[in-house]
């Protein structure tokens, strides 16, 4: 088990290098003029040249890449042309907001998706199941940004129940930064008013983001529960007179969840790289917005940094999923 972990962590090195290489190649295809943009509209040629030199953009690409990878080893993700701040620092500021959003959305999706999936599997082909299937496909088909707009329209504008966007009310001070997740920090500080406000702000974007993973988890859980229900050990459990609840949770639920874990892992990574649209709609100060701004100004270091960090988290989550497999299913062995 430890060896398995160690081996998987060793694999991170090549992943990092490969990921940055891909992004570097794309970044250097740039026909545009990021330096010109960063230098400002009134800069002279000499000023631009100085800026290019400052950021090493005048050197050959392979040289830039090598020094980037060397920096990577020290945890240095380069500097942003636009903000001129170290990318690692910027990401440290924006990442927690995105993580908070994704975690909340996934928590919602899992908490609802797993039991609903199990239930619809039990009601297989009866009307609640069919309705659930249609709704689930509908949820997957709903563009997240349109859903976000509709939620905003209804809950924030017409009903005025929930705030329009942002992470906290403007005048509320964020709680002392421990984890960077506002809700968690507020709870840690015992600041219940702020926690409440943070949750209210989190509600709509998390809902908008959670719908499609919720539907996917529901469908996967349903499918694997149906598959499990056809297994001999379920029939055996029934034939041996086990109570329904026990069969449902210990036998069907547990075995079906292990297949659903993969979907959860995949979706987590996918959401992490796909919060951009929801963040845009809800004005959520997260990584997606940071990346969008960087992309639009062709400021590649932040983009590479964001791709790297989300890629790493994706890998980490999938590692966690693999470990969770082992906890649920003893047949999985780590070799």
């Amino acid at each position: 088990m430890l060896r398995f972990l160690f081996r998987r962590l060793l694999m991170l090195g090549p992943v990092l290098v490969g990921l940055t290489a891909i992004m570097f190649v794309i970044a250097r295809l740039l026909p545009g003029d990021p330096v010109g943009l960063a230098a400002g509209p009134n800069a002279t040629l000499a000023e631009r040249a100085a800026l290019a030199q400052e950021f090493g953009l005048d050197r050959p690409v392979w040289d830039q890449y090598l020094s980037y990878v060397a920096g990577l080893a020290r945890g240095d993700l380069g500097r942003s042309l636009m903000t001129r701040r170290p990318v690692a620092e910027d990401i440290a500021i924006y990442l927690p907001a995105t993580l908070e959003l994704v975690l909340a959305a996934m928590a919602l999706a899992i908490a609802l998706g797993l039991p609903l999936g199990l239930l619809t599997a039990l009601w297989q082909n009866r009307w609640p199941d069919r309705l659930g299937q249609v709704l689930a496909i509908g949820a997957i088909s709903m563009p997240r940004f349109f859903l976000g707009l509709l939620l905003q329209l209804v809950f924030a504008i017409w009903l005025m129940w929930l705030p329009l966007g942002g992470q906290l009310p403007v005048v509320t001070l964020p709680p002392p930064r421990v984890t960077g997740l506002v809700t968690l920090d507020a709870a840690l500080a015992g600041d219940w008013a702020t926690l409440g406000a943070a949750c209210r702000h989190l509600a709509l974007p998390a809902l908008a983001l959670s719908l499609s993973p919720l539907a996917a988890i529901l469908r996967m859980m349903r499918a694997s529960a149906i598959e499990v229900m056809a297994q001999d050990y379920v029939t055996a459990a029934r034939a041996l007179g086990l109570p329904r609840r026990k069969i449902l949770i210990k036998t069907i639920g547990r075995n079906a969840v292990s297949a659903t874990l993969t979907v959860i892992g995949l979706y987590f990574g996918w959401l992490l790289g796909g919060t951009v649209l929801v963040e845009t709609v809800f004005d959520w100060p997260g990584l997606g917005l940071y990346a969008t701004r960087a992309i639009l100004s062709q400021d590649m270091m932040p983009v590479i940094g964001v791709a790297l960090v989300t890629g790493l988290i994706f890998v980490a989550v999938n590692l966690a999923v693999d470990l969770a497999y082992g906890l649920i299913d003893p047949r999985v062995r780590y070799e």
Binding site: I22, I140, S141, P143, F146, L277, I295
Partner: protein, 292 residues
């Protein structure tokens, strides 16, 4: 289920899948919606009540008119008929989605097929690359490439296709590997059939169904991604109407001029919903292993 490359087949195989598909009312609904969307993609501009607006014509005297008989979905910030733009917008969305799936799918199929069939170090290299591409966040990759290349239909398609193929490569490699182990393939190898014959005659036909299912499901997803890029502002060029771009523009006028957003938003939903239902139905009837 496979394309009819072989002599006529009186057998019940295809009809059976068809019958199974036909029995599912939701699949039929999906097929109907897809047919509608495809029809719009082909004839949308012709059906538009204000074709001039589709070509970029404006009517600044009639800006922001609420829904009425003349403009069922109202008019936008330039006085253009929102219904006309939405109808015509199907073309860009569907065509882009289709191209993305086709290009990404073909690339992925080639890569995955080669990797799975040849195995060895080629497989190793191709699959490591695939794994790597799967880790890169799709949307960020697409946005970056689209931003680098600049807005425009082809650039958008290219940007999305670049992140699209790994899924197919994985799928096809898995299918090829599974098919390679199937006894009928071993039988073909044991009788001395050539590599090419084994691949074309025995392995690839086995992989067609899952690919078709994935493509159909991916169409919906691709349309969503296209709209997402448009929403961020990296989409087609004006005056070409496109749903995501329309929605992005319309968003600035919510909630007072809500109608500008409704038609394109619903259009995206309906199109994606249709393809998803269709893909789901196809999976049920073609590929009983997945889904129910």
């Amino acid at each position: 289920m496979t394309a009819g490359t072989r002599p006529p087949r009186p057998a019940a195989r295809r009809p059976r899948a068809l019958r199974r598909f036909g029995r599912n009312r939701l699949s039929l609904l999906g097929a109907g919606l897809v047919a509608l969307v495809l029809a719009l993609a082909l004839f949308g501009p012709l059906l538009a009540p204000y074709p001039a607006h589709v070509a970029g014509g404006i009517d600044t005297a009639a800006r922001f008119q609420p829904p009425s008989a003349a403009h069922p979905f109202g008019t936008n910030e330039l006085g253009q008929d929102v219904l006309s733009l939405t109808l015509a917008g199907a073309r860009a969305s569907v065509l882009a989605g289709f191209s993305v799936v086709l290009i990404g799918g073909t690339t992925g199929i080639l890569i995955g097929g080669i990797a799975g069939f040849l195995g060895g170090w080629i497989d190793e290299i191709l699959m490591r690359l695939t794994d790597l591409m799967l880790i890169v966040p799709n949307l960020i990759l697409a946005m970056t490439v689209a931003a680098v290349l600049g807005p425009g239909f082809q650039n958008m398609v290219l940007a999305l296709a670049l992140g699209w193929w790994p899924g197919y490569a994985r799928l096809l490699r898995g299918e090829v590997l599974a098919a390679r182990e199937r006894p009928h393939v071993t039988a073909a190898r044991a009788m001395g059939a050539s590599q090419a014959r084994v691949l074309v005659r025995h392995i690839l036909p086995d992989c067609v169904s899952p690919v078709i299912v994935k493509m159909s499901l991916d169409m919906g997803f691709a349309i969503l991604m296209v709209a997402g890029l448009g929403f961020i502002g990296i989409g087609v060029r004006p005056p070409v109407p496109e749903w995501g771009t329309m929605l992005a523009t319309a968003r600035a006028y919510m909630p007072d001029m809500w109608w500008v957003a409704m038609a394109p938003g619903l259009a995206i939903f309906v199109a994606v919903f249709g393809f998803n239902l269709l893909g789901d139905g196809l999976r049920d009837s073609l590929d009983p292993r997945g889904g129910r």
